[in-house]
Symmetry: C4
Subunit: 250 residues, 4 copies
């Protein structure tokens, strides 16, 4: 097995697809968004990446069949546009692994002639959110204008700590391949899985890329989480305490 | 020394042997099982693997002679079937090491034309066990039927966290070599070395592979551990408190 | 991407330049010094180094444009001497990375025919400083005399723990390329960003290399920090407690 | 720079020398012993090993001259035998590094046609020691007899946790090169630098290898440490409490 191994599962014909990355991270925003796309739209598994940099483990499915830890690319038709949706349960375990894995992702992107990259994630605010802004970062300033039209917020210098992991490296390493890349970060408290933040990110993606999906199941999950948040607020002695600091739950 | 070094110690003739892996892990179930096989049946050391991914240390034997940390393969004749039994005191120290070491194990398996792989281990329940179920996972759904006949329990999606380490990778990487692989996990509290769980796993292995060994010494060790558990229960103020949570002992 | 990747951004003509390294470290002394040089003198970005040993992240600039973590070399004309100023926000994440990154730095030094190396940093005293000595270490005893003339203090055997990270390796690995290298370490408490210590280091560098820069902005930053220190001292109940041990703030 | 770099400093002619390793470890027993040999006997620096697996740092000597972290081999004539004495301030930082560095050591051993290896160290007892036994381990049972004659104690299976680091690997990897290797471990509390334990080890080495050195300075250091230990015992309320458990000082 190579350091990064790309398994060719199927070779669907895609027309300059948009790569949408949603791996685990803050509030699981990116992962929820990408998985919702796969739930709502018919997709075909096209590539799988395995790597010595991923955890040494297998997942067990409903039939008790094991599958090696990896990240997957599904080809998805969304209205008139083709998407290549990247999902998985793991990120790499060390610096070198993050670089090598991201290069593997961009190798797959080249195999499918990807036209641009959207790395999805969450940005922690440390407080319960009322209005879910979506923060943007790009690897080319020309990308900003259509994103601003779709409501993406650009706050120069933010996030202050930069963007870490595969989402960050997708921006940094795409530049080296002349591939336009955008990171969409849904604001989220950072303490809870956040389907509402995922919905905000997905709405931006729809507007910018040009497709529509149903939000039903995502809204259901959001309602469930709202109940959890409501109970937390109640326990704290007041129903109407917006922007309450939740740091002690972390 | 290569990253993974396979030392050829002897070349016994084996007829499509079954690889049985029992390295250290939860409750030492896999290790106890594999070592009991070597105690009860005549075996011949066939291969040793050393690796820069194993701890930088030597073990000291009863004659004060040092031997480099490694994992060992013994060729064992069990009634009418040939076994290749993998034992050792260590697993790898990092992600890459787990992958590379497992590949080394499968290289040895190919040298002996291994027909299938059984990775043995324990699955922690967090409670004292009365009935020792053996949980199964496979890398091919066709493997399930004979295992179910032998009493193996398949609970889809379990263990929820997947299977980590060499046992997990043996399933994940065997698939890439078209080698059938099963993981047998004895339920165990997770807090104590558990010979009873090892016995449950071994009974399944006997039934599925088709051989018999004496359980005497394993039962003795089980009785010793039962005394320990009995004393723990007494200290807790009651002789008859089944399924008592032991988490605070961890 | 190679383990260490040197991007050629521009090829300014430099006459046996002096390499000045100022990466993050104790009191940010080296980084403050190097960045002050870039603030005060016109410079041109000449090289950028990226590496799998640097953190897997991008920084976000004022236009929300991402740039891959890296270290940068600016060509700077300082009066009659050419400088190659090395700055950045990160050091390597492990032993091997420090070595490989330092070798990359020295490869760039060779590309520009660098005549000597100054590694800048801070040395922690554990106490608030009144007089900012600059401690020196060299990779060739012949380098000491002009440094002593410029006020550099040499205390044999100090720092007792040696010099760690890129600054240390620049001395250690320059020797292997017959390149004279000096480490200038400004004394600093070790608890606070220390522009006064940076100024002391810069004054030595000016005297030894032969150039002058304005200290205005560095002095402003020093005054701001002095206020912070004054408040700390006040809180401790006395305005005039020199050499007070601050270890509990660390 | 290679992963492990062997610098040829001088090429003294040695007649099947004995390699004596004394790197930092428990009680600094090995390091004290090897350094005492270099203090008492004239030696010539023959080889230096640098490695990306050693800490990224330089040491600073009495003239403030930096030298890259490394391990050193001195050729020493001790009465009628030649020694190759290995000393240094560091061990490797990870598993792979320990293996690679030990292989480098054995490469140097081959360059000088080393006849046998003595790895020196301490073995912690957790108690203050009255009689300093020297525990032995070998990579060939034939080595035991002359060692037992010299008073080395062999306790089968001890140390129970094996021998870790370069000392351990020297035994494990020498076997692969058909080189006889012995580990001599002076008993020591494990809490203090222990010159008395070093003396016990050195006395064994003298007897087995066949040379004599003066113990004066080592005895002085031992007396100094005895005073420290005496004061600890006094503080504990009794002058005559042998084998007192010191575990709380650790």
């Amino acid at each position: 097995m190579n350091e990064v191994e790309i398994d060719r599962v199927a070779d669907p014909t895609l027309d300059e697809p948009v790569l949408v990355e949603g791996l685990p991270g803050v509030g699981h925003v990116g992962k929820l968004t990408a998985e919702h796309l796969l739930d709502e739209l018919d997709g075909e598994l096209a590539r799988r990446i395995h790597s010595v940099h991923l955890p040494p483990q297998v997942g067990i499915d409903d039939d008790s069949v094991a599958s090696l830890a990896g990240i997957e690319f599904h080809a998805v038709r969304a209205d008139d546009v083709d998407l290549l949706v990247l999902t998985g349960d793991h990120q790499a375990g060390d610096n070198r692994g993050h670089y090598r894995l991201t290069e593997g992702v961009l190798d797959v992107a080249e195999q499918f002639d990807v036209s641009q990259v959207f790395a999805l994630g969450g940005v922690p605010t440390g407080e319960l959110i009322e209005e879910y802004d979506v923060l943007g970062a790009v690897n080319d300033p020309d990308l900003r204008s259509p994103l601003e039209d779709a409501g993406v917020v650009f706050r120069g210098g933010e996030p202050a700590g930069g963007i870490v992991g595969i989402s960050g490296l997708l921006l940094g390493l795409s530049t080296r391949r002349d591939l336009p890349a955008t990171c969409l970060m849904g604001e989220t408290s950072g303490y809870l899985v956040d389907p509402k933040s995922a919905q905000a990110v997905l709405e931006v993606l729809e507007a910018v890329v040009g497709f529509e999906v149903d939000f039903g199941t995502l809204e259901e999950r959001a309602d469930e989480m709202e109940e959890v948040v409501g109970k937390i607020r109640e326990l704290e002695g007041g129903m109407e305490v917006p922007d309450e600091d939740l740091r002690y739950i972390g």
